[in-house]
Amino acid sequence: MRSVLAIAAAGVAAMLLQTGIFPALPYLPVWPDLILVLAGYLGIRHHTSAGGAVGAFLLGYFLDTFSGTILGMQAFSLTAAYVAMTLMARHLWMERGLPLMATIFVGGCVRALAAVGVAAMVATRAQVWQHVVRYGFVEAAAAALVAPAVFWGVTWEKRLLGLR
C-alpha cells in the first residue's frame, strides 16, 4: 500500500511539474515526460507484479486527464511502454546508468508509436504523427536523461515511507 502511495505521490508531483513548472520555463521546446519515467520505474522495479501494469495504466489515465481529448490514448501508450520496458528488464540487469536510460528511451519510442496507433484508430493520426516525428525522439531522450534522477527520487521517497 505504501508503495502505491509512493508512486501516486511521485505521479502527482510529476504532473504538477509537467503542467505547471516546465511550461513556464523559457526556451524549453520539449520537456521530459516524468510520468513515462514512473511507468518505466514500475516496469523495471516491479516487473514481476501484475500491479505494475495496473499502475502504468492508471498513470496513463491520470495523464489522459491532463493531456489531449482522447481518453485512453495515454493509458494505452503508457501500458504499451510499460510492457516493452518490462520485457527489457526481464532480460537485462539494470539498476542505474546507461542501461536504465536506454530502457526509458526505448519505452519513450514505444509510447510514441503506440500513441500514433491509438490516434490512427480514432482518425486523428496526422496531428499525433507530426508531433511524434518532430519531438518524439527528443522527448524520449529527455525522459531518458532525467530517468536516473527520478528513480533516485522515488527510491528516496520509499525510504522515507519506511519501504526498503
Partner: protein, 283 residues
Amino acid sequence: MDFIRRNRVFLTSAACLLLAAGLALRTGRQQTRADRLGRFFLELMAPLQRSTAAVDRAIVSAWRSVVELVGARNENVVLRIRVQQLEQEVDRRSELDIENARLRGLLDFRRTLQGDILTARIIGRDATGMARTLVIDRGEADGVVKGAAAFAPEGVVGQIFLASRHAARILLVSDHNSGVDALVERTRARGIVQGTVDSGCGLKYVKRTEDVQVGDTVVTSGLDGIFPKGLPIGRVVSVDKRGQGLFQSAEVAPRVDFDRLEEVLVARGSFTLLEEAPAAPEQ
C-alpha cells in the same frame, strides 16, 4: 491456472491495453468527456495546481525580470554609445558654428578689399619660442609668393617669408625680424612697427616732436609696397620719450591674437582697402 500465474503481468497488461483501446475508441470521436475517474483526478489536482500556478507565476516573473534587466543593460550600453555620439555631434556642430562665423567674418572683410586675395588655413606654428611664425596650407601652387602680405579681418598678421609648392610660412608682425611701415591713425605720425621679445610690437623711429598717445591706433602706411594703406596693426599701450635722441618709441599691442588665429588672408599681388577703417572688431 499455472499459465495465468506465470503470465499475470502480461495478461494484466493485455487487459489494460484492451481497456485503454476500448476507452479510446469509445471517447475518441466525442467532443466532451464525462469519466468519473478523470473528474476525480482533476478535482484532486486542482488545489495543488493552484499552488503550482503561483510558483509558475513567480518563475515567469523572475525570468521576465532577468530578461528585462539584461535588456535594460543592453539598452543602457546602446544609449551610452548614442549619448557619446550625440555629444560628439554637438561638439562638432558647435565647432562648425564657430568656424562658420569666423569664415563669414573673413568673407565680409574680403568684400572691403580690392585685389586677388586667398584664404589660407593655419596648419602649424613656430617650432621653438625663439621666433614667431605660422605655417599655412597654401603655397606656390596657389599663387602664394615670398613677400606676400598676410592679414586677418582684425589687421596685419605678417609676411610670407618662405613658400613651398603647397605650404608657406608667415613671419608675424610681432617677430623681432619683422618691420612694417606704419602711421599713427589720429596724427599721421610715421614710424616702423617691429616685433619685440615679449610677443608685442614696438613703434620705432617716430619723431620726438610727433604726438603719440596711449590708445592711438597704428595702421599701415602703404609705403612699403606690401600692405595697403590703413590696415590696422594695433593700439599704442605705452609711449617712451626717455633719452636725448631724435626719436620716441611706443609699445603697440597687436590687434590680431596670433595664438587664436586659424585662418588668414594672403594677397596674391597688390591690393587696396575700399574703406580705410578697421573692418572688424578685435579678437
